[in-house]
Amino acid sequence: MSDWVWLAVAAVGAVGAIARFLLDSLIAEHAGRDFPYGTFTVNITGALILGFLTGSGLEGNALLIAGTATIGSFTTFSTWMLESHRLAEDEEYLRSLLNLAASLVWGFAAALVGHTIGTHA
C-alpha cells in the first residue's frame, strides 16, 4: 500500500471520528442520555452506508478509503459495548439488553438493505 493511501486512511479516520462525535452529541442533546440513541443512530447509519458501498461494487483503494477507513471510523463497536455495560451497572438491565439486541438487529437490517440497494443501483 502506497504512502498516499495511508495518509488518506489517516485523514478520513479523523473525519469519521469527528462526525461520530458531533452527531452523537447532537442526538444526546435532543433525545436525552437515558438511552444511547447517539451511538445507535451513528452505528445504524454507518451500517447502511457501508452496506451500500460494498453492494455498489466499489473495490480496492476506493472501498478502503470511503468504506473501511471513513465509515469504519465513524461507527464504533467499543462504545456500543461500554454503554451497554454502563446501563447494566446502573441496573437498567432491560435497556442494556435492548441496546445490544436492537443495534444488532437494526444494524444487520441496515447493512442488508444498503447492500441490496447498492447491488441494484
Binding site: 486512511v9 471520528a17 461520530r20 452496506g51 473501511t68 461507527t75 464504533t76 463497536f77 444487520f108 447493512a111
Partner: protein, 132 residues
C-alpha cells in the same frame, strides 16, 4: 454547533487517525476468506473494547481530571479503531454465503466476548490499588 471545543475536536481527530490506521494495518495483515470467521475485525473489536473500558474507568475513577485524554484515547482512538459497520457487512456477507449458523454465532460471540472484555477491564482497574 455551539459550545464545540476546538482542542477537543483536535484530540478526537488525532485519535481517529491513529485508530483508523491501526485497524486498516491489522485488517491487511490478517485477511480471511469472505465467508469465514472475520478474525481481524473480531480481534480489533475485542481488544478495542478492553482498551476503551480500561481507559474510561481509569480516567473517571482513578486519575485526576483531564480534558483531552478521553477524547484522544477513547472517542478518537478506540472509537475509530473498533468498528460496527464492518462487522455488520461481514455478517451480511456470511449470511449471503448461506452460512447462517456462522453469521449468528459470529454476531453473538462478538457481543458476549466484547461485554466480557469490558467487564474484565473495569474490574481490573477497580481492583488495582491506587499508588498516587
Amino acid at each position: 454547533m455551539p459550545g464545540v471545543d476546538r482542542r477537543e475536536l483536535a484530540a478526537i481527530a488525532a485519535g481517529g487517525m491513529a485508530g483508523a490506521v491501526a485497524r486498516v494495518w491489522i485488517a491487511r495483515h490478517l485477511t480471511s476468506p469472505d465467508d469465514s470467521w472475520p478474525w481481524a475485525t473480531f480481534i480489533i473489536n475485542i481488544t478495542g473494547s478492553f482498551a476503551l473500558a480500561y481507559i474510561a474507568t481509569l480516567l473517571q475513577e482513578r486519575l485526576p481530571q483531564s480534558t483531552y485524554r478521553r477524547p484522544l484515547l477513547g472517542t478518537g482512538f478506540c472509537g475509530a479503531y473498533t468498528t460496527f459497520s464492518t462487522m455488520q457487512v461481514e455478517i451480511v456477507r456470511i449470511f449471503e454465503a448461506h452460512r447462517y449458523g456462522l453469521a449468528v454465532v459470529y454476531a453473538l460471540v462478538s457481543i458476549a466476548v466484547g461485554m466480557t472484555a469490558i467487564w474484565l477491564a473495569v474490574t481490573l482497574v477497580r481492583r488495582t490499588r491506587v499508588l498516587v
